[in-house]
């Protein structure tokens, strides 16, 4: 088991560290913006934020090749942004505008940008795990060198598709990486109160002949290193990995959830002592990156997100003409002649 391994932490160069910070900060700032926008009633429907979980999305995405594939849950803004999807496309989709990644037809829970390898965000728990397995089967079958990564929450480990997908991936030794973001809560219920084992993903790994891997999901460097290792293994033809990332969701489950089930002081504790952004900022300083460089990154992200927000606000709503497009391959919806 890899757990809180003390490492010298000097194996990453500045460029990679800045990329990791930039990605984390972009997610943090965009998610905060998403929250502000739904307070303004500009983000409709529901929204599931990754505030506090940014290091996982950043660590994996920064370790991926361009042609790698990501499969996300409804909590998918972070992973979509981390792959380089357009910020206006993401914010526009949350606002259900014509400039959105899917022109408002999918909404917050279904972010997709295949041009960046984001093969969709799926809102039925567990379904995208077998899909990632299938994408990995295709890579193996056609001799492609990409790896498929599937991100899911702790709650997913109790649904059948999780177990079917793991068994299937191991049996055929497929290049897929299963990433459990254990943020302590299955929606409103503490995960340990409804799961037979302490570590919902890692403790199940041995049932599928996999190594039990638990990492600090709020340390982007550790996530990045673990991801690199899993990708090398997958690309070498040595099969899947299951990685449990310990983290904490600083926002509610969805926009409707104020998080009143949390014990007093828990949220503050995580925000103060184990926030991935604060921790990474300190690390950058520790490794000699100057405050100016950090400020530049943050300012550039703010400019980028502000610009995207304005653009999304100015974008028209989707035209009614697209209501019936793209149901079938011919572009339309006709089910009869």
């Amino acid at each position: 088991m890899v757990k809180n391994k003390k490492i010298k932490n000097d194996d990453l160069d500045d460029k990679k560290r800045l990329e990791l910070y930039n990605t984390q900060y972009l997610i943090r700032f965009s998610e905060q913006r998403a929250y502000d926008l739904f307070l303004e009633n500009l983000v409709k429907g529901t929204s599931h934020l990754s505030l506090g979980q940014e290091a996982i999305a950043a660590g994996f995405a920064c370790a991926m090749q361009k042609n790698d594939k990501s499969f996300c849950t409804y909590r998918g803004h972070a992973h979509t942004l981390a792959r380089g999807a357009s910020v206006v496309g993401v914010i526009g989709e949350l606002m259900q505008r014509d400039c959105g990644l899917m022109r408002g037809k999918g909404g917050s829970m279904h972010l997709t940008d295949t041009s960046k390898g984001v093969m969709g965000s799926y809102a039925i728990i567990g379904a995208h795990l077998p899909m990632a397995v299938g994408s990995a089967w295709r890579a193996q079958y056609l001799g492609h060198d990409d790896v498929s990564t599937v991100f899911f929450g702790d709650g997913t480990t109790n649904i059948g598709a999780f177990h079917e997908a793991l068994n299937y991936a191991v049996v055929y030794k497929l290049p897929v990486v299963f990433v459990c973001e254990n943020n302590n809560y299955m929606e409103y219920t503490p995960i340990e109160s409804i799961t037979a084992v302490k570590n919902p993903a890692a403790d199940r790994a041995s049932a599928y002949g996999l190594e039990s891997i638990i990492i600090d999901g709020n340390d982007a460097d550790e996530v990045f290193r673990t991801a690199q290792k899993a990708y090398s293994k997958a690309r070498a033809g040595d099969g899947p990995s299951l990685i449990e990332c310990k983290t904490y969701r600083q926002s509610g489950h969805s926009r409707a959830d104020p998080g009143s089930y949390r014990p007093n002081g828990e949220l503050d504790h995580w925000k103060k002592n184990n926030d991935p952004i604060i921790r990474y900022r300190e690390r950058l300083l520790e490794f000699g990156i100057t405050q100016n460089v950090i400020d530049d990154i943050e300012n550039n992200v703010k400019i980028q997100v502000d610009k995207a927000t304005e653009e999304a606000k100015n974008s028209p709503i989707p035209p009614e003409s697209i209501l019936t497009t793209n149901v079938y391959d011919n572009g339309g919806w006709a089910w009869r002649n």
Binding site: K69, F71, M102, R103, K105, G106, H110, T112, D113, T114, M119, G120, Y122, I124, G126, A127, H128, L129, P130, M131, A132, V133, G134, S135, A136, W137, R138, A139, Y141, L142, S148, G160, A161, E164, A165, N167, Y168, V171, Y172, I322, T325, N326, V327, Y328, D329, G331, W333, A334, W335, R336, N337
Partner: protein, 325 residues
């Protein structure tokens, strides 16, 4: 023309498409080395090997999910769900995933895959291995639904389904696997969304699907022989896309419409077609639209009970006679 059984036509179609397209591969439970529990895929494993013809665990969600993930990234997989009843275990993938991903992503994702499944009654298997569920599938926007009645249609429509860029649920009728029929030599590819007039007539139109087609034809022959009633029988073949042109022009000619459906009564496929006819051709009708269906019950195992549940030649014959007289 070669004589093939319905089950041999399944393997023939898959072999034909695998030979021309490297991205076609086939997965399912017991489908490879054993050739399928219905022996519909015998020989494919020997011919194409373990890379392309794959035995899977009993994991219906993983099977359909894997087919979908492969399809959206460049393959044309065929997945077998042994009995159509088992689709309920992985219905999420049919109802929520493969059918909706194209729309939700505004066309970024596509799922060119085929789900083949053994459908229908007559095998005395009881309520969980005998259902006709083509009407479940018909209710979901974004998928296509095919249910052939002859070996030639199996080959042609399965080939067309594999080449189609949308997900297709392909219902093979378990009680038809043993029937023989002529299948065109060489490459044979049919067209989805085309119904076929299988018996010409002028007095009434009878729509049927899969196992109900030969029964409707037999009833029609008997009505002609014994009462001089001339029935036109249409094999609907694909429920989505639905060939209303062929159906409507027959109804305009005969003025009467019957459906013969194996699915249980409520929301059967015929209900939708009848509603379209009533909506669009009401003034062409000379009498009520009549649906002949399995009653709204789970199917029993006992042969005498199953035989009176599913529309039989005699029941079809008697009902049409009663209504037309």
């Amino acid at each position: 023309m070669a004589q093939l059984t319905y089950r041999e036509a399944v393997a023939a179609a898959i072999a034909q498409e695998m030979e021309r397209d490297e991205t076609v591969a086939f997965i399912g439970e017991d489908v490879a080395k054993a050739g399928g529990v219905f022996k519909a895929t015998v020989g494919l494993y020997d011919k194409f090997g373990p890379r392309r013809v794959i035995d899977t665990p009993i994991s219906e969600q993983a099977i359909l999910g894997a087919a979908m993930g492969a399809a959206m990234t460049g393959m044309r997989p065929i997945a077998e769900i042994m009995f159509s009843d088992f689709l309920a275990v992985c219905w999420d993938f049919v109802a929520n995933e493969m059918s909706k991903s194209r729309y939700m992503s505004d066309g970024q994702l596509k799922c060119p895959l085929v789900v083949r499944t053994g459908n229908g009654g007559g095998s005395r298997f009881g309520a969980q291995h005998s259902q006709s569920i083509e009407n479940w599938a018909m209710a979901i926007p974004g998928i296509k639904v095919v249910a052939p009645s002859t070996p030639a249609d199996v080959k042609g429509l399965l080939a067309a389904s594999i080449r189609d860029n949308d997900p297709v649920i392909f219902f093979e009728h378990k009680s038809l696997y043993a029937i023989k029929g002529e299948v065109p030599d060489g490459e044979h590819v049919d067209t989805l969304g085309t119904a076929k007039v299988v018996r010409k007539g002028k007095d009434a139109t009878v729509l049927a699907l899969a196992l109900m087609v030969p029964r409707a034809v037999a009833a029609a022959d008997k009505l002609m022989a014994e009462h001089g009633i001339d029935i036109e029988v249409i094999d609907v073949r694909t429920l989505v896309p639905l060939d209303m042109k062929t159906i409507s022009s027959s109804v305009v000619k005969t003025g009467r419409i019957f459906t013969v459906e194996e699915n249980p009564r409520l929301c059967g496929w015929g209900a939708e077609i009848v509603s379209i006819i009533v909506d669009e051709l009401f003034w062409d009708l000379d009498g009520p639209a009549v649906r002949i269906t399995t009653p709204h019950i789970p199917l029993p195992a006992a042969d005498n009970l199953e035989d009176i549940a599913i529309p039989s030649v005699d029941r079809i014959f008697n009902k049409i006679l009663e209504v037309l007289n």
